[in-house]
Amino acid sequence: MKKDNTRRRGGEFQEIAFTINGRKVKTRVPPSMLLLDLIRDELSLKGTKPGCLEGECGACSVLIDGSAVNSCLYLAVNTHGKEVTTIEGLSGDGPDPVLESLIRNGAIQCGFCSPGMAIAIKSLQNRFSSHPTLPDREMIKKGLEGNLCRCTGYVKILDAAEEVLKPG
């Protein structure tokens, strides 16, 4: 979708500067723009999936300063000064251990929820890295409750998460 670039210099646009997947970005966005649209349409990062646009399914999850948020409920302007990680940011030189665990455990069927699931698991991993105890299965279930999956019945996703969150 082509945006009218001349309008961007107008007053209704706000300038934001943030980091996405380790890269610094400066851009002007309308105040009403969703982070999901910024990521998918402006930055062409299509790995973040639009599932419901109402914050119910979690397919569009991204990390903001290490914690998962639904990018469909988050305004792009609010990323100013923050660090955003999308699913593309989880694959550097090789895939992140979270992705590897999901693959190994057979946790991916149609795969539309999978990037969001991976982000949600990464968020749990970040949260529990500074936590004195490891999460149990019930805590992991609670942590992934906001991500819908219609194919797998969640069992293999939970197995994959458990393997990453409770190593050994």
Partner: protein
């Protein structure tokens, strides 16, 4: 095909495409972005039943950024659906809220939506018919005037009658006769990726390319050609990565030819992607139905007869889903032994949203009714619920009243497995007393086609295999991958047979210009039919490779074994690299390509007019035992444990199989406990995930799976289809468990807290 020492088949293998999907690299419909692409949007009816007096699109057409606006008056199309009862754009009247009145293509989604809001439609509102029983009354007006109707009532879209055995005789000798009415709700697929299409018409080539999520690309190509009055071969269907199917993509829906028309009129690519609300409002549902069922048994608990009358709410137009009675009839005629069966089903037009096909294809509803009645009969006769099922279990070699032939049958073994593993009998004391939490256990079995289903002239699948000069294999299969893992299973089969590593095998399955014909993904047929087709192609490839290898190794063809990317002589131990053999064949005599084609047609039969015949080459059987805990204060049902035993023939990929089982059980759990698309006077009241509840990670019970391997001679390595089956018995088993826990009868779904509390109050009073 040798099954003595399998090296790849039977080993847990992650899906080959898992990495692409999880890392966000896979291109789903909503990710397609073509140069100059426009965004399409569809204006739908405001009332479920009304005359269209006038449509004014002038303001929309003059909005800057709008490239094209179409209505029924500006297109020349044929009706769609297998009954041809569905106009793509509606003219003169609307018959349900999904009805497409106009469509626009614009340079952005926002402009497209704005344009829709500028279209003025003047309606003359009429009283709709939302109850199928009302639609059958003589005074009811004709709801759909397009379909060819030869049935007993003008509002019947499909009608089925089936009979076997001496019904009256069996009724008379029955010690118990149980008659119940069951209500099954509308549930819907909730694919995580919403419906989508990108149409790209090239005016210079007069070719239409469709980036589509269809499950049945070749039927879709034919249907699209008929709808648009084009040549099928001038339509190229490229399947995008599909974000969930479950039967929802078996039919073509109006938005798809609409996108094509917009592209043809503008000469630019046009994309339509539903938002979630549109997905709930305008994509198909499982059939809502009312099942009247009478069943009987003798004093020993042997089943005597079944008499079934089903009314399905078809909605305003017909989809393949209206033929679900075809599958339901098999469950009533042939799940457990039964000497007599009379089955009638009518899919009735209403002004409700129309139904489609969904995983299990009517079978979860049929199984729910049948298995509930079995529990009631067991209680009536005084026979244990597990025992009555074992007494009547299907057996290998059985030919049922309908002509289904069970060459292999693991029904009894599946039942015995779940009875034993669930510890049935040991948990009986848990439900005594007046405690708040009551536990119960329920059983249910299922029968489903597992060797394709011959409902078209061909149930076949074509395969081409190509071995290149570097030893890499390309499998071009007619079948397709919709997330279920068939691509991986096919690669495993090729790897097993040719001794080539999975990393050197590519599966091509998404382009009708390239791949050979296949009927599509449905009826749990892909691993079975495409697997057999691939085995045939690999056999022919070996007929090219083996003579050359034998000559090079100075031995006979029967002495050769394919392993570790070599062909080896078993007697001398000498071996030659596979890619070297290919190069010798390419560049020396016989100067041939190492390519082979095979078309596999299952040996099943088209059923006759009385629905008799062996419609599938193999049948799957399964049993589930479910333990639930019901909170009698809140009405909340927790499913604790699900024990699944299923006759899968042979386990091909344990990892993929387990995933199908778990996914099916949880989808069945949603159907049983929480899912219902609530429709009132033709309007969907809960078109979002907030109000249409799907199971989440927190709802997942312990699922224990015990595969039953019966090694069917027709299947690849003995395997049978598995995909739909695990969902089929789950709602029935959960309902039986809840009934056991509370001592109440369950005759409808979903078992929401509200409905559970109602049942408790009805039994005990306040």
């Amino acid at each position: 095909m040798s099954t003595t020492k399998l090296k790849v088949v039977g080993k847990p293998t992650p899906k080959l495409d898992a990495g692409v999907r999880v890392s966000g690299k896979a291109v789903y419909g909503c990710d397609v972005n073509l140069p100059g692409m426009l965004f399409g949007a569809v204006l739908r009816a405001k009332f479920p039943c009304a005359d269209i007096v006038a449509v004014d699109v002038s303001k929309a057409a003059s909005l800057p950024g709008v490239a094209c606006v179409i209505t029924a008056d500006s297109v020349d199309t044929n009706n769609i659906s297998h009954k041809r009862d569905h106009p793509i754009l509606k003219k003169g009247e609307v018959s349900c809220l999904r009805d497409e009145i106009a469509a626009v293509a614009a340079t952005s989604r926002e402009i497209a939506q704005k344009a829709l809001s500028l279209i003025k439609v003047k309606y003359r509102v009429k009283e709709g018919i939302f109850d199928p029983f009302r639609a059958l009354e003589p005074s009811a007006p004709q709801i759909n005037r397009y379909g060819r109707n030869s049935f007993s009532n003008k509002n019947i879209a499909e009608e089925f009658h089936y009979e076997h055995g001496d019904l009256e005789g069996e009724k008379n000798r029955s010690a118990c006769r149980i008659k119940r009415r069951y209500f099954l709700p509308r549930v819907t697929h909730c694919c995580l990726a919403t419906s989508n299409i990108t149409a790209d018409y090239s005016p210079t080539e007069r070719r239409l390319t469709l980036y589509s999520s269809t499950q049945v690309p070749f039927l879709y190509q034919r249907d699209m050609a008929h709808a648009l009055k084009l040549e099928p071969s001038n339509i190229r269907v490229i399947q995008v990565t599909i974000g969930g199917g479950f039967g929802s993509k078996l039919d073509m829906y109006p938005f798809e030819p609409i996108a094509a028309i917009l592209s043809m009129k503008t000469g630019r690519p046009v994309q339509i992607v539903y938002d979630r609300r549109e997905e709930f409002l305008a994509s198909p549902t499982r059939q809502m139905m009312v099942i009247d069922l009478m069943t009987g048994a003798d004093t020993e608990g042997r089943f005597t007869f079944r008499e079934v009358d089903i009314i399905l709410d078809n909605g305003a137009y017909t989809s393949w889903g209206a033929t679900t009675p075809f599958v339901m009839m098999q469950t009533f005629s042939s799940l457990y032994r039964v000497p007599a069966c009379k089955f009638a089903a009518r899919a009735v037009y209403t002004n409700n949203p129309y139904a489609g096909s969904m995983r299990g294809y009517g079978n979860p509803q049929a199984t729910f009714a049948l298995e509930r009645n079995i529990d009631v009969m067991a209680r009536e006769i005084g026979i244990d619920r597990a025992e009555i099922r074992l007494i009547n279990a299907n057996f290998p070699g059985e030919v049922t009243g309908q002509g289904l032939t069970y060459r292999t049958c693991g029904h009894r073994q599946a039942l015995q497995t779940v009875i034993e593993k669930s510890g049935y009998g040991k948990t009986r004391d848990r439900q005594s007393g007046a405690r708040r939490y009551k536990r119960g256990m329920g059983f249910a079995s299922m029968l489903h086609v597992a060797g394709g289903a011959k409902i078209y002239r061909s149930d076949g699948c074509g395969t081409t295999v190509k071995l290149d000069a570097f030893g890499y294999l390309t499998v071009i299969t007619g079948s397709n991958e919709i997330g279920q893992g068939s691509e991986t299973v096919l690669a495993m089969i090729a790897s097993e047979e040719l001794g080539i590593g999975l990393d050197k095998i590519r599966v091509i399955n998404s382009d009708t210009d390239i791949k050979p014909w296949d009927v599509g993904v449905h009826a749990s047929r892909t691993s079975f039919v495409a697997g057999n087709s691939l085995l045939g192609a690999v056999g022919k490839l070996k007929e090219i490779l083996s003579p050359k290898a034998a000559a090079l190794l100075k031995t006979g063809v029967s002495d050769l074994v394919y392993e570790d990317e070599y062909i080896r002589s078993m007697t001398t131990g000498e071996r030659i690299k596979l890619d070297k053999v290919v190069r010798e064949i390419h560049f020396q005599k016989p100067n041939e390509l190492c390519i082979a084609n095979h078309f596999y047609e299952p040996n099943s039969e088209l059923q006759d007019k009385e629905y008799r015949g062996n419609v599938s080459s193999a049948f799957a059987f399964g049993s589930q035992a479910v333990e639930v805990e019901v909170d009698t204060c809140t009405g909340n049902v927790r499913v604790l444990d699900v024990y699944v035993a299923q006759d899968v023939g042979r386990v091909l990929n344990p990892l993929g199989l387990q995933g199908q089982i778990e996914g099916g059980v949880v989808m069945g759990l949603g159907h049983a406990l929480m899912e219902e698309l609530i429709v009132e006077n033709g309007r969907v009241l809960n078109p979002d995930f907030h109000n249409y509840k799907l199971p989440t990670a927190s709802d997942v019970p312990n699922i224990r799976f015990y595969p039953v391997e019966t090694l069917d001679q027709e299947g690849p390595y003995g395997a049978k289809g598995v995909g739909e089956a695990p969902l089929v018995p789950t709602p029935a088993a959960i309902a039986n468990a809840v009934s056991d826990a509370l001592g109440v009868e369950i005759s409808s779904l979903p078992l929401t807290p509200e409905n559970i509390l109602k049942a408790i109050v009805e039994k005990h009073g306040i």
